[in-house]
Symmetry: C2
Subunit: 342 residues, 2 copies
DNA sequence: TTGAAAGCGTTACCAC
DNA sequence: GTGGTAACGCTTTCAA
């Protein structure tokens, strides 16, 4: 059915080996042979079979990307950038969406195994833990880069946003506006992301000598639902916060929904800020202040690290963590606190 | 390095063939052998090599999805749904992002060729045309489904949103609110999507005996930039529209940005509506009225069609087009027109 | 400079 | 029930 190297050889009146050599620019091939092969390839529309090539230990030029989901704008940018970067380097990408589920995740890891792919960029799922499998895979020589969530720092390279710094920056900024009661609605803290953002928040308050009120910290999940309930709970507090920090865009959505429903004006009645920059934050009325995470740079770095490891897979190397700094995007959703009690 | 079926056979004290049969549940295998093989597989951590399997003409259980981009929320939902649906059916997905570019697109099609994948779900790029290659591929037996954009209706199955109906519905709704001067900011019309939405708009106006004013129709691209300029142009008209329909979410963003800057209130000063439902539309202040496109259903249908074709690839079949109806999501961004002149 | 042949991991067809 | 063996398409020695 499909055109094979055999057909090309027959068409060009040469042997398999010669054609193969010509196609791979390895070994000697006469100009004449080269020309005949080129025309044969063109005429027959020959396409190398990556499967067969891979069987011979050749790289598949396919990289696996495992992400938890794709509806989040954050993961999206990751996918987009990884795909672009890989394509530029002549790699295909196999996208795996584990839905934050360890079982699905393991299934994908298994599929990606066995030289099916040359390397993996891995964002861990929230739930569960496929550490043993991942570690075995890595030790068998599969290049793996941890992105965004860190788990195997003793074994794998990892690229992360400096969320401690980001949260510190943001909290500190709000403090600078005179706020003292600052609510924080955060997702899972058994993850580096949530944990670090919480840490940054605490540090900033400590450094400003503001006592930490546990009632102001609503830990839950990175979902819109938690954003809604968190906001409601904060608003019901006897001593309401004058500012709310949403732990993610999802959380922010829930937060904005509730504020909208209760006709609470931003920033007149309440200051609001969030993490991660997203298209619509800029056009919101008012535009939402946020901590910008250098997603694209993070992705570029991960792919680069992966390419490097794939180029020399067996080489000994010391796993490194790359922390990328964040930056504050000051917009219109935070205002100076009103001098109510002073 | 990696564990092969050979190792399993040795470990279990059986032959390759027996192990292969056991692994594929084809042919007869004694319970005892099965058990021994199972333990061997478990102990050795054996993982079948999909490459070798594919070489033997076995399906790769990999499906290619080609989409123009991934930053658009629409394409996102597509990716998410396709991945989920394929995973449920035990298929992996190779994601290809052509960036609306024909050359990249062709590269991806070539990679996907050659049984590398068992089938393709294809959203054409805006620019250029890889018809010849796609058609050859299809004729060689590769199952391909056109999604969202139609080009090879004589050869391939296609699944589309009924954009004529959607635009008609939306325009008609706005007319019902008393609007007579209705601006339309639309992207490329050499594509079915843009063309059909324009058509629906025209039909609705015609049916309501409202003359079509070309000045109210701003054709450009599906980008935020065009949304901005389109809105600006419409606002500069001597006879301003009382409502604006944005041709896509991207266009809407540009539109909202300009309205925000000019402090034009929605819907008091101007009614606004758009196409495609997106998370943030609901939380906007006011929530934006839109035509909901049944993306998920579209994707489910495409995958189902693809699975069916992959199951019996050679079977003769008549290509069909599936048009999915849209529905109006009436929210707060459109108001009854003020009785200014009557 | 070229070609024959072995082998990659798997499955399928035959014998036994 | 089971075990050889050829074959899938390709690359890579090794001779010629």
């Amino acid at each position: 059915m499909a055109v094979t190297i055999k057909d090309v050889a027959k068409h060009a009146g040469l042997s398999l080996s010669t054609v193969s050599r010509a196609l791979n620019q390895s070994g000697y091939v006469s100009e004449d042979a080269q020309r005949r092969i080129d025309t044969a390839v063109a005429e027959l529309g020959y396409q190398p079979n990556y499967l067969a090539r891979g069987l011979r230990g050749q790289p598949s030029r396919l990289v696996g990307l495992i992400v938890p989901e794709v509806t989040s704008l954050y993961d999206n940018l990751i996918i987009q950038s990884v795909a672009a970067m890989l394509h530029k380097n002549n790699y295909g990408m196999m996208l795996c969406i584990n839905n934050e589920d360890a079982e699905a995740d393991l299934g994908y890891l298994k599929i990606l195994k066995e030289k099916q792919v040359d390397g993996i960029i891995y964002v861990h799922p929230l739930e569960g833990n496929n550490s043993p499998f991942v570690r075995t895979l890595a030790k068998e020589g599969m290049p793996i880069i941890e992105l965004n969530r860190r788990r195997e720092e003793d074994l794998l390279d990892g690229v992360l946003a400096d969320n401690v710094q980001g949260a510190y920056q943001l909290t500190n900024y709000v403090i600078g506006l005179g706020h003292r009661r600052i609510g924080l609605i955060m997702g899972q803290t058994d993850l580096t992301t949530g944990q670090n953002r919480l840490t940054g928040y605490r540090h900033a308050l400590n450094d400003a000598d503001i006592p930490i009120d546990p009632a102001l910290i609503r830990i839950g999940s990175f979902t819109q639902e938690h954003g809604e309930t968190g906001t409601q709970e904060l608003l019901q507090l006897a001593e309401r916060p004058s500012a709310i920090l949403a732990g993610s865009n999802r959380i922010l959505m829930g937060c904005l929904k509730v504020l909208n429903e209760q006709a609470i004006r931003i920033p007149d009645d309440l200051s609001v800020a969030t993490f991660n920059d997203t298209e619509w934050l800029r056009f919101w009325n008012p535009p939402i202040t946020t901590v910008d995470i250098a997603t694209e740079e993070m992705v570029n770095l991960s792919v680069e690290l992966l390419l490097r490891r794939m180029a020399s897979p067996s080489k000994e190397y010391k796993p490194r963590t790359y922390l990328l700094s964040t930056s504050l995007l000051e917009r219109g959703s935070c205002a100076k606190v009103k001098q109510s009690g002073g």
